[in-house]
Amino acid sequence: MLHQFQKRILILAVRAGEIMMKSGAEIYRVEDTITRICKAGNISYVDVFATPTGIFVTMDEGSRDSEVFTYVRRIKNSKTDLTKISDVNRFSREFTTTDLSVDEGMNILTEIEKKPSYPLWLQIAGAAIIASFFCGLLGGSPKDFIAAFVIGAFSYSLSLLLNLAELNFFIRGFCCCFFATFLALLAAALGLAPSYGDTIIGVMMIFVPGVAITNSMRDFLSGDMVSGLARTAEAVIIAFSLATGAGLMLKLWTMMGGVM
């Protein structure tokens, strides 16, 4: 019976950690959350090792003849979602300070996990706003601004579509930038985007690896070297994918005889 309880606490803790990691939290926050939840379930020995691709938890009840439990959880398909990080953070505090049961905890976690992001049109509008206002900040004209708005919306929709197809982040960044550059050059050829460079950069700002840079540095700082390196590599690869996507289209455009 006791074993059953231990197991359920472990599953709850790993679930919380998994949601956080998928949403793009730092490693120490994930490890902290899991340890805190396990300790709240009166488990004396807990050790967690989390990386962006997997969580390993081992725990022991602490008595002489108790068994050691280990749980390995593989993590796939992460998507940055700051609300989920904040919610699980709150939940773990609530779970440790109040006497929520494990089942209630499970229900709350399921609710958090299922919580939808902002509606689709708002996300696409958000991406369009990013593209157009960065274009403006970099000195684009009103025409470029409008072009960036439209192109940003289209290329972010493409990114969401590719996300559904579960393509990896390199291909996604590459395709989106390739497509965005094509549209920008097309708009420039039609006279709709006089300084198309600013338009392209504006759209690129939707996809820049800001999250990966921030998280990798925070991981290094708390001593999680493996994750720090992994996320640095992620940032570099994303940056490369964006640059090659835009670059290849520019090259093709000139090769096809388009004017730049």
């Binding site: 940055t80 958000g126 840079i213 640059a243 000139t254």
Partner: protein, 154 residues
């Protein structure tokens, strides 16, 4: 500069939407990101290099982000991420590629190095500020503990 500030507010608002930032954190994050951008531009206008300007701006964002997370009791990343993204050198990435394609390897090399340096400046600024905050918090805790123990002794 006011126009830059307003544009930056809108841009950061867009970023916080696609990363699903909770609505209660939005005012602080958006303001923080816009302040970061204006500081970057002001530093560049004052004649500092892009690398140094980015460094200063990222330092300020990390500091303000930490303060916001302590005041509003939420994770630090919620405030830092929307602020940092505008500093990421998307323009540098594009121009490096453009020069490269135009066959201007010298310019591509220079632009690429600048881009790398700017990205490095963001990283170092985040590390520096987080370390400073850690040291300050530790000192504060020690002082607090000491005053507690002396009180207990008296």
């Amino acid at each position: 500069m006011l126009l830059q500030f307003l544009f930056a507010i809108m841009a950061v608002l867009g970023i916080s939407i696609i990363f699903h930032l909770p609505v209660r954190c939005m005012p602080a994050s958006v303001l923080l990101g816009a302040i970061g951008w204006v500081v970057l531009k002001a530093a560049e206008n004052a004649g500092l290099s892009a690398v140094l300007a980015t460094f200063l701006s990222a330092l300020l964002i990390a500091l303000l982000g930490d303060i916001c997370s302590r005041v509003l009791k939420d994770a630090t990343t919620l405030f830092i991420i929307p602020g940092i993204i505008p500093l990421v050198p998307g323009g540098g990435m594009y121009y490096t590629m453009l020069y490269f394609i135009q066959g201007d390897i010298a310019s591509a090399g220079k632009c690429g190095t600048d881009t790398l340096m700017i990205a490095g400046a963001i990283a170092v600024a985040l590390l520096t500020m987080a370390s400073i905050i850690k040291i300050l918090v530790n000192i504060y805790r020690k002082i607090k503990n000491r005053t507690k123990t002396t009180k207990g002794a008296a």
